[in-house]
Amino acid sequence: MNIDYSQEAPAVAGRLTLAQIEELVAKPMDTKPDRKYLIALSISLTALMIGAISLGLTFYYGTGLWGNNQPVGWAFDIVNFVFWVGIGHAGTLISAILFLLRQKWRTGIARFAEAMTIFAVMCAGIFPAIHTGRPWMDGYLFPYPNQHGLWVNFTSPLLWDVFAVSTYFTVSFVFWYVGLIPDFATLRDRATSKIKKTIYSIFSLGWRHSNRHWTHYEKAYMLLAGFATPLVLSVHTIVSFDFAVSIIPGWHTTIFPPYFVAGAIFSGFAMVVTVLVFVRKIFDLQHIITLDHLEKMNKVILATGMMVGYAYAMEFFIAWYSGVQVETFVFINRALGPYAWAYWIMVSCNVIFPQFFWIKKFRRSIPVMMVIVILVNVGMWFERFVITVTSLNRDFLPSSWAYYTPTFFDAGILIGSFGLFFTLVILFTKSLPVVSISEVKAVADGAQPTYQGGDHHA
């Protein structure tokens, strides 16, 4: 437990050689799935099936199966959408922003976090697609020349969402694939079976590890990181505009964009820690995904958690300071009204429990961080629930006030989205390198020239 913080910890622990790194990362792909893997997969597939059945029934009978009512017209769909998009943001932050900040420790976790981004955005994409109840009409979301002569409304935040989320997914996917190309080439060259070799050859595009290519590759990686950084900020800003551009009290606030972005990073890091704790244990990657990495992520969770807490407090302050009666009422209603239980779950999970991370011992303890990050996941889901439902359920007309209760189908689709996410994660761990082989090799001890043998005497 005695860590010397005056020196930067090595990005790869245990002085692994390059061949050992490769061996460790490629091992899950070279071995047959064991019993534990199949059990985990069957659990997540069960959740996915529950979601698929709930969704199928919703398509058949319509959105009347959901708990949405008047005035709570927006409920689980937008809650889950914002929750999953937020989860995705950690991946881009780790892969792009920490890359630009030259944080070497990101290499061990970047690939996994990027994959989680893609899967989380896929989960998020389900909800805007299904919330109309007629997902086969979703083509109308895109501006295409049609016989009505109509175009989409480019000034609507909901359309900004379409562009932001689809761009985010595409760019994240491309970023991820570009990172995978050298690894595919490495896997191709160590593959023994012909089928594997063919598949890896196709996806590696015939990459040759040529230095004349690496020059452009590194440039492209930096350009992509440079674009992904403002993109990730724009995406959750636009998601917050879905609320902030409307005139509902409790939504119509200028603090929303930074507040949402901080919340997204907060929840995303929590999800990454949740999954990585298992992955590093199951696949023996403790030397590549070290305790130092997890500790650093816990520090980010602590920092963003307090930003979110500040935003909660500031919303109340502005409600009082503005002197707007309806605004004041909405926030008092949030904390003391019919949904007070949800509000206090949110506050305790997001603001109070992460404070344990001030203590180094807890930051570096796997069981403690496990409990806290799961609580953060729960809290961040409730944050979106509180924002959406409490602002709507008591709106301007007291005669139309109503309590919203989700139905079995609402819950089923939420469970299904978790099922989809974990199914994709589990399949990913067995089929692709969960750690970037070439990047980790590059930051291992002795991987870069020391300039003693070559530079000065040549």
């Binding site: 932001a164 490495t186 590890h209 992509l224 403002p230 991987a447 070559g454």
Partner: protein, 388 residues
């Protein structure tokens, strides 16, 4: 063994990054240009050792990013302010601040996609799984944990023994000759391949046809069209008469309706008087309506020269003495009530329009039967003195 094959180059592998950096420098200073270094990850300092110029990839990003911004903004301007302007929230048609988010997203999308596509296709010339370096021991080792350099046979200075000795002087782990792989050829038009293409075409077109023309009209996709609600002009089981729409209550008066007192009388004793003065606007309205409703039978100038070619009996001319002596109210009565085979136009032409037509008919009658006094008046108006 490889004597009949064409040599691609000679490769050497090294164990440490320091060795490969110094090897690259020596190869470059020996004057070789066609050489490449293969390392499992980018080794820092290699670009300056190989004297590689900085990547120009950024220009692709810049140009395509600016293109994305311009295309997005112009398209949104065109669609929202030119092609189909809609007032949204009382804002200007071209509400620039509200268009910023999408402009930004499209910029990022186009910049990143074109950067990656340009990098892979133009800068790398990939995909290329037939490169001579593939499937060699050399490639396997540089893919793992070794650092390799290859001098290609296409270099002007390339001499087999000389290069081999030069590389050996760098004390590498291993030296390997790389040969071009044997040429493989495939016939494109094999029956199997053609069948494969044909089946793909059939599946895609059939699937598209089924989805768009059949599936979308099946349950539950058609539930938006077939709803349990009352439609006008459609049968319904809810009412005894089996009709979806209701007939008006007895004695219902249509909006703006004023009863015509002489309805049904062939020769009314008295008629209404014309409430409209023959102003320019009124006559223009009358002319338009006359052309729409009256000309098919009465002719363009009320001569009774029908253009129906005998499909309907020709009416008499309106320039007869009898017709000219009709009062305004009588002509109005005939339009409203009909006369002989002429049906009533009450339901098709509004009251005011009927009076306008009356005024226009008067214009036609006076034009065809002008007196000398009219001619003098006309010349006065035209500013000429021909008649004097």
């Amino acid at each position: 063994m490889h004597n009949n094959k064409k040599l691609f180059g000679i490769a050497a592998t090294f164990k440490t990054p320091n060795e490969i950096i110094s090897a690259a420098k020596k190869v470059f200073s020996a004057g070789y240009n066609q050489f490449d270094v293969n390392t499992p990850y980018p080794v820092h300092g290699m670009d300056s050792a190989m004297k590689i110029k900085p990547s120009k990839l950024g220009f692709v990003t810049l140009v395509m990013g600016l293109n994305g911004a311009a295309v997005a903004l112009l398209f949104m301007y065109w669609s929202m302010a030119v092609d189909y302007p809609l007032v949204i929230g009382g804002k200007p048609f071209f509400a620039f601040p509200a268009l910023v988010p999408i402009t930004f997203e499209v910029t990022v999308l186009l910049a990143t996609l074109s950067t990656v596509i340009a990098m892979i296709a133009l800068f790398f010339r990939l995909p290329d799984n037939k490169h001579p370096l593939h499937d060699t021991e050399y490639m396997k080792s540089v893919s793992g944990d070794k650092f390799g350099i290859v001098i290609e046979a296409s270099d002007e200075m390339f001499k087999q023994t000389e290069v081999e000795n030069f590389l050996k002087s760098l004390t590498p782990l291993n030296i390997e000759y790389i040969y071009f792989p044997p040429e493989e050829s495939y016939a494109i038009f094999q029956p199997k391949f053609l069948l494969f293409l044909l089946s793909i075409a059939l599946i895609v077109s059939g699937g598209t046809y089924f989805t768009l023309n059949k599936l979308m009209y099946m349950t539950p996709f058609n539930w938006m069209m077939d709803q349990d609600k009352l439609n006008p002009q459609k049968p319904s089981e809810l009412f005894v008469d089996g009709r979806g729409m209701r007939t008006p209550v007895e004695g219902t008066v249509a909006k703006g309706f004023i009863p015509y007192p002489y309805k049904g009388q062939t020769n009314p004793v008295e008629v209404l008087s014309n409430p409209f003065l023959p102003t320019k606007e009124n006559i223009a309205l009358g002319k338009a309506k006359y052309f729409t409703y009256c000309t098919p039978c009465h002719g363009d100038f009320a001569d009774g020269d029908s253009r129906l070619r005998g499909q309907f009996p020709n009416p008499p001319t309106l320039h007869s003495k009898r017709a000219r002596d009709f009062s305004d109210g009588m002509i109005y009565h005939i339009i409203t009530n009909g006369q002989n085979v002429m049906p009533s136009y009450e339901s098709q032409i509004t009251r005011d329009e009927r009076w306008a037509i009356v005024n226009y008919v008067r214009v036609l009658q006076r034009a065809k039967n002008a007196s000398d006094a009219d001619l003098i008046d006309m010349n006065k108006e035209a500013g000429s003195n021909v008649a004097n």
